[in-house]
């Protein structure tokens, strides 16, 4: 909500932005040199700096900006304004590690230089001699910075430009990543670590110990066994699963398949389970391959009479290179340097989106996940998903399946545990995929984890009361991948992590080095800001109800819903040995025939599954399916549009809803408090649910917030509407209708 113009116009807040054009400054005398330095993090070292640098403000077309000093450290590129802004301190959602003018080195996506009005992508070769008059930095979190280098001394400009280009673009070794310097500094109070360990146990499950896995198997009632032979990564070298769980018989099988083993992901209450495995491309020894496949499927299906289905994801989903290409196209639409570009691209917005194919990839992944869910939930078959490495799309699909089926993973802690289980312990190659080291080899980069978060966002968007976390949480998580402080996203596998840590440890005393995990949110945000991670509309499960449900389901269903209608048990009496044997044989046939072969059929079959689910009453603690029709798959507005001032809705957007909701919730809570006090005074114990602390936020006057809250703050912009420029440029209605008269002369009168 905006305040009326009279208020907006009157606001005489002192402007801290110096709105001087470059021309003006030339006339002025040299600004007094103020020595300013960034507040360095422990372990952070300043490399070089330059002053004065003009940072363009994105707010409007005119090339105006703020003067300040540009620094490059081993952690970030940072710009410090000559005039101290006060706004920074008043932010409610401030990242403790980096502010709005800081760019962690890992977060730099591309650097462009403007040489004589020509924009060029900076690569190693260009750095040598010339330095550009203007440097444009595109960040992985979609911020765009523009710095003018012409006001500073030539050597300084050259130095800062080369420094930034070198540290952001050159290939480097893992040890140079800031996390190793950061964590190398002694953390206050080492005795606290055990305490922290305890705390961690209560919260996110890291899946780095056998207990975690056992716990998880217990929780899902999985009928699997934990294999500990691989504790020291001896059995498999390339594909490392530290503790993997699998069916009993599979122990044997992974000796055959010494490089790849399948790993249990999750068990459905009916007893069937989801497995994933890496599958080498078919090689010369086809017979061997077939045998291995056979063994794997057997292992998966052995426990139960259920059939098992395998799905090779590399056959049905785009490759990681496709995904990378598509995202590269997609993100360009949001890296906007000025409002002319914005309005120009606005006209072709939808077709541009479509041409990137990004939304379609999201749809395909969700679609695949729904197919797997259908197998587990409706057909009660075991599912084995495979892929060459088994650590990319397998992770996406298996995590999505679990979120759809298991409400636990829709809580904040559950979700974090899921990421640990499927991605971190599941050996997703974060280091390679995110290209943290700027390797030249482009083949292995791909935003797979982001793709997963995108899919989760679609689910959150469609069924928000089912999720304990908010979209802000997902956005922050997607940003945190490129903050080089956390160990979570820094390694290619658990084995990799272990070996690097061991190698590093002599540097830092005797104990193995440990940097914080990303789940330690207090490293980035204070507790007030962390409130933004929670969805106020999350409908929590009522406890006793759950108990009732659980008691009912498991065992009976298993028999009723046995294989599928095609393989109905012959007699009513149940299964005895010879019967099951023959049944198994029958099932084998189905198993081996690849499931859902033709590319167009899955959509049609899952359509029915979705529709029958949709007709049932909605249970936020039950199965959750996404709608995948064209209009339902949307752009993650918060993540992608948050830095673009042209699309900020002043006083609107979801903040407005949140504010009102918070107000309502706090009223409800206050009333409940009053009631409880009354009740306790009457000595009646009513509801034992402990009150969760006020997770309520007050946004102050929400009228001043824009839709980009809590990320970008549109500052110093009076309440001016953003009026598009060049509207008619492409809406050329070509047919003759446009030139017709409005009125056909006929006059129809009412009878």
């Amino acid at each position: 909500m905006l305040s009326l113009g009279s208020v907006g116009a009157k606001s005489t807040k002192p402007s801290f932005v110096s709105y001087v054009t470059p021309e003006e400054i030339k006339l002025e005398k040299e600004p007094p040199k103020i020595e300013k330095h960034p507040d360095l993090l422990p372990g952070e070292v300043e490399f070089c700096c330059a002053n004065p640098i003009l940072k363009y403000t994105q707010d409007d077309l005119s090339q105006r900006g703020i003067f300040g000093t540009l620094f490059c450290t081993n952690f970030r590129v940072t710009f410090i304004s000559d005039e101290k802004s006060q706004e920074e301190t008043t932010k409610t959602f401030k990242n403790k590690l980096y502010g709005e003018n800081d760019i962690p080195l890992m977060c730099v996506d591309h650097i462009y230089g403007v040489y004589d009005e020509k924009k060029k992508l900076i690569t190693g070769g260009l750095v040598k001699n010339k330095y550009p008059s203007k440097m444009i930095i595109h960040c992985k979190d979609l911020r765009v910075f523009q710095f003018c280098l012409t006001f500073t001394k030539e050597e300084d400009a050259k130095k800062i430009f080369q420094g930034i280009a070198h540290h952001c673009l050159e290939e480097k070794s893992l040890k140079c990543v800031f996390a190793f310097s950061y964590s190398g500094t002694p953390s206050p109070g080492t005795e606290l670590s055990s305490c922290r360990e305890m705390q961690r146990k209560r919260e996110t499950i890291l899946f780095d110990s056998p207990e975690d896995w056992t716990q998880e198997m217990k929780r899902t009632r999985a009928n699997c066994r934990l294999v500990t032979e691989n504790e020291n990564f001896e059995l498999s070298q390339r594909y490392i699963i530290r503790h993997f769980t699998a069916n009993i018989s599979s122990i044997k099988c992974y000796y055959y398949l010494n490089y790849k083993v399948h790993i249990w992901c999750w068990s459905h209450h009916s007893g069937c389970a989801l497995f994933k495995a890496s599958l080498p491309p078919v090689t010369q020894e086809d017979g061997d391959f077939q045998k291995h496949l056979d063994i794997m499927i057997n292992a998966v299906a052995h426990n139960y009479l259920y059939s098992a289905k395998t799905e090779d994801l590399s056959e049905s989903l785009p490759t990681i290179q496709d995904i990378q290409q598509s995202y590269n196209k997609f993100k360009q639409f949001f890296l906007i340097e000025n409002s002319t570009d914005f309005w120009l691209s606005d006209v072709k917005w939808f077709s541009s989106l479509e041409s990137s194919g990004w939304l379609d990839i999201i749809r395909q992944c969700l679609q695949k996940a729904v197919e797997v869910v259908e197998c587990l939930e409706k057909d009660n078959t075991n599912v084995l998903i495979t892929e060459e490495e088994g650590t990319d799309l397998c992770c996406v699909i298996s995590s999505l399946v679990q979120i759809m089926l298991d409400p636990y993973y829709r809580t904040l802690m559950g979700f974090q545990s899921l990421v640990q289980k499927e991605w971190v312990a599941g050996c997703h190659a974060f280091l390679d995929r995110c290209n943290h080291l700027h390797q030249k080899d482009k083949e292995c980069h791909s935003p797979i984890f982001l793709l997963f978060l995108e899919c989760v966002w679609q689910l959150v968007q469609q069924h928000s009361p089912a999720f304990q976390f908010s979209e802000t949480y997902l956005t922050v998580l997607s940003d945190s991948v490129d903050v080089p402080v956390f160990s979570t996203f820094l390694f290619n596998s658990a084995h990799h992590r272990e070996s690097v840590m061991k190698a590093e440890s002599p540097l830092a005393q005797s104990s193995p080095l440990s940097c914080p995990t990303v789940w330690d949110w207090s490293v980035q945000f204070d507790s007030k800001a962390q409130n933004f991670f929670f969805n106020p509309l999350y409908s929590e499960k009522v406890k006793h109800e759950k108990a009732v449900r659980k008691a009912h389901k498991p065992k009976h269903q298993r028999q009723l819903s046995l294989p599928s209608t095609a393989f109905k048990p012959p007699s009513k009496k149940g299964f005895f040995k010879d019967e099951t044997d023959s049944l198994k044989k029958m099932l084998r046939v189905k198993r081996l025939s690849r499931w859902m072969g033709s590319p167009d059929s899955p959509a049609a079959t899952t359509r029915g599954f979705y529709e029958s689910w949709q007709q049932r009453p909605l249970d936020y603690h039950g199965l959750l399916l996404p709608c995948l029709d064209g209009p339902a798959v949307r752009v993650w507005m918060q993540r992608y549009l948050r830095w673009i001032p042209e699309v900020h809705i002043m006083g609107g957007g979801s903040v407005a809803v949140m504010t009102k909701l918070m107000e309502l919730l706090s009223q409800v809570q206050d009333l409940k408090c009053v009631l409880e006090q009354r009740d306790s005074s009457q000595a009646v114990k009513l509801d034992h649910r402990p009150y969760i602390q006020h997770r309520l936020l007050s946004f102050g006057s929400s009228g001043r917030l824009s839709s980009s809250f809590p990320f970008a703050y549109s500052r110093n912009r009076s309440f001016k509407p953003i009026i598009p420029t060049g509207l008619m440029q492409s809406l050329m209605v070509s047919d003759s209708l446009a030139s017709q008269e409005d009125e056909a002369s006929s006059f129809v009168s009412l009878v």
Partner: protein
């Protein structure tokens, strides 16, 4: 559907069962070819108001229930097949098409399905009156009294020293498509107004629509000036615009917004129309808003229907949507309204808005600008006033644009101008979810009732016609119905900020297709539980708790007063924990 639920049941007791009923035994004879679930067999009933289709051998029970007013076209599809089936296609104004098949009738009774439909769906073409004139439901409130122009201008705080309400159009002699009450600058006489009316298309002179409570900047609407190829001028018109500018002491400038693309405005000169030259109107700046005409909009909606109904092509959804240009038109209209609101609010300048005749694009722009500027129009009753004022009294040609009861579906005068406006309002409610008192259902109800011909509100083309037809006397107002069940239409998140101006973002990136309207017939796109249900529950929870607290407080007060140890049977304690993570 919801609209059927609300209006349908109310109607049945009053509607005349002038019925065609497929005889009981032939219940299975009619097949509805549902594009989503396939053929459904059942019985079809047509009354003089609506069409029912019921299928009972299916779980869940499937039914269709729609007012005949939504039909824009009824046609036989193909010749009778060898199996003797007859097929009917019904094209609806609300973004769907229906298809029925039944056996070739053996007796004359069955033959009449088509005829009954043709007769009652298009009463105007058959010299019959619309169903609204038969509908006699009584509501506690009389919606015809919602809008009182004098009270509305008073609310706006019209300054008597600069503006007056003229009676020159009392008998619609000055302009038959304008309302009786017009507000003009005090310095202009009625005689001068008459001269102006000959210079403005259809006599639609510049009159006040809204005035800013503080700056006195005015929103004025008109039709195009009849400049012609020779550049005709009209002294009185120039004086009138000068007077409008002078009435606002804050600014010595004024803006004239011509809603059309400049090419079209120029082309109008050939036909005697045109736009204000800046020579004749000094201190006035002319701005073209590039909004296309009714034919372009009709075509755009037709394409949109093709894209969304019945099947959506997932992989080309976005480019298909773009090719309809629908959202681009929405963007242009919103952008135009935004510029108007900006000039009035930020620039404190008075504005004149016109298109060609001033009854299509002009009300779109003025009413959207008014919604941005004046929070009163964002309330349920305020919005009703806005529609009554800017659309109905100022003569948006609803009869022509919608074609109530008229079988001439190819009529070039039809155009979804009002739908487009409601879409723009919906876009604003999306961007400012707490700024509007009404919810989405309110907007959908208005659109459904626009076509249903159940209420008199949207009948005829002008105030004068409605009076002549005695519409208020013989029909029920939509607002009678709405205001009798307001709780249905309330946005639970509404926060009333009296002085807030809304400036929406008009980039396509922030515009969405109104899925819950345009694609609502597709069962897959229907949300199982809309989120606003959660909000409603929350409000109910708060109310419940409040009540409970009050009860307990009363109880406690009673107890202390009587200081007795006895307790009356305490109310059953059934507070369920709030299912909300707080």
């Amino acid at each position: 559907t919801r609209s059927d639920r609300s209006s349908g049941t109310r109607v049945s007791d009053t509607e005349l069962r002038y019925v065609f009923i497929v005889c009981v035994s032939t219940a299975k004879d009619v097949t509805y070819i549902c594009p989503f679930i396939g053929p459904v067999r059942g019985s079809l009933t047509v009354t003089n108001y609506r069409l029912f289709f019921r299928c009972t051998d299916r779980e869940p029970v499937f039914g269709l229930d729609l007012p005949l007013g939504v039909l824009s076209r009824v046609e036989k599809i193909g010749a009778a097949t060898s199996r003797g089936d007859v097929s009917y296609g019904l094209v609806c104004k609300d973004m769907r098409n229906l298809r029925f098949v039944h056996k070739e009738p053996e007796d004359s009774l069955k033959k009449s399905v088509f005829e009954v439909l043709m007769k009652f769906a298009f009463p105007v073409s058959n010299n019959m009156s619309l169903f609204a004139f038969e509908y006699k439901q009584v509501f506690p409130e009389n919606g015809w009294r919602v809008y009182d122009p004098l009270a509305e201008y008073k609310r706006q705080g019209l300054a008597k020293e600069s503006w007056r309400i003229t009676k020159v159009n009392d008998h619609y002699e000055l302009c038959d498509s304008y309302p009786a009450a017009l507000v003009v600058p005090v310095t202009i006489t009625d005689e001068e107004l008459r001269r102006v009316s000959s210079f403005r298309a259809k006599g639609r002179i510049p009159v006040l629509s809204w005035i800013h409570p503080e700056s006195q900047a005015a929103v004025v609407r008109a039709s195009q000036p009849m400049v012609g190829q020779n550049g005709r001028r009209c002294k009185e018109d120039e004086k009138l615009l000068q007077a409008i500018m002078d009435a606002n002491a804050q600014s010595h400038k004024m803006f004239i917004f011509d809603a059309r693309p400049s090419v079209n405005a120029a082309a109008n000169k050939m036909k005697g129309g045109g736009y204000e030259s800046e020579d004749a109107y000094q201190n006035a700046e002319l701005v073209f808003l590039d909004i296309h005409n009714i034919h372009v909009m009709r075509e755009s909606l037709r394409k949109l229907k093709e894209v969304v109904y019945p099947k959506i092509e997932d992989s080309h959804w976005l480019s298909n949507l773009e090719s309809t240009h629908w959202l681009e038109h929405i963007k242009l209209i919103l952008a135009g309204a935004l510029r108007i609101a900006d000039k009035v609010e930020s620039g404190k300048t008075s504005v004149v808005v016109h298109c060609s005749d001033g009854w299509d694009r002009t009300p779109q722009l003025t009413s959207l600008a008014l919604i941005m500027l004046d929070s009163h129009y964002r309330t349920i009753r305020g919005f009703q006033i806005l529609l009554e004022k800017e659309w109905l009294s100022f003569g948006h040609r609803f009869q022509q644009r919608v074609g109530h009861g008229d079988k001439n579906h190819t009529d070039a005068d039809r155009s979804p101008i009002f739908l487009q406006f409601i879409d723009c309002v919906w876009q604003m409610t999306r961007q400012f979810p707490a700024a509007f008192e009404f919810n989405e259902y309110f907007l959908i109800t208005i659109l459904d009732q626009l076509y249903s011909c159940l209420f008199g509100t949207f009948l005829c083309n002008s105030e004068q016609q409605r009076l002549k037809e005695e519409v208020p006397k013989h029909t029920v107002s939509l607002w009678s119905f709405v205001n009798s069940q307001l709780e249905e239409f309330v946005n639970p998140l509404y926060v009333h900020y009296p002085s807030h101006v809304l400036f929406p973002t008009v980039g396509i990136r922030h515009l969405q297709l109104w899925v819950t309207y345009y694609i609502r017939w597709n069962p897959r796109m229907r949300p199982q539980e809309p989120v606003h249900q959660c909000y409603k529950e929350l409000l109910a929870k708060r109310a419940e708790l409040q009540k409970r607290v009050e009860e307990l407080q009363r109880e406690a007060a009673n107890r202390t007063a009587s200081s007795s140890s006895e307790r009356a049977g305490s109310p059953t304690r059934s507070i369920t924990p709030v299912q909300t993570y707080v």
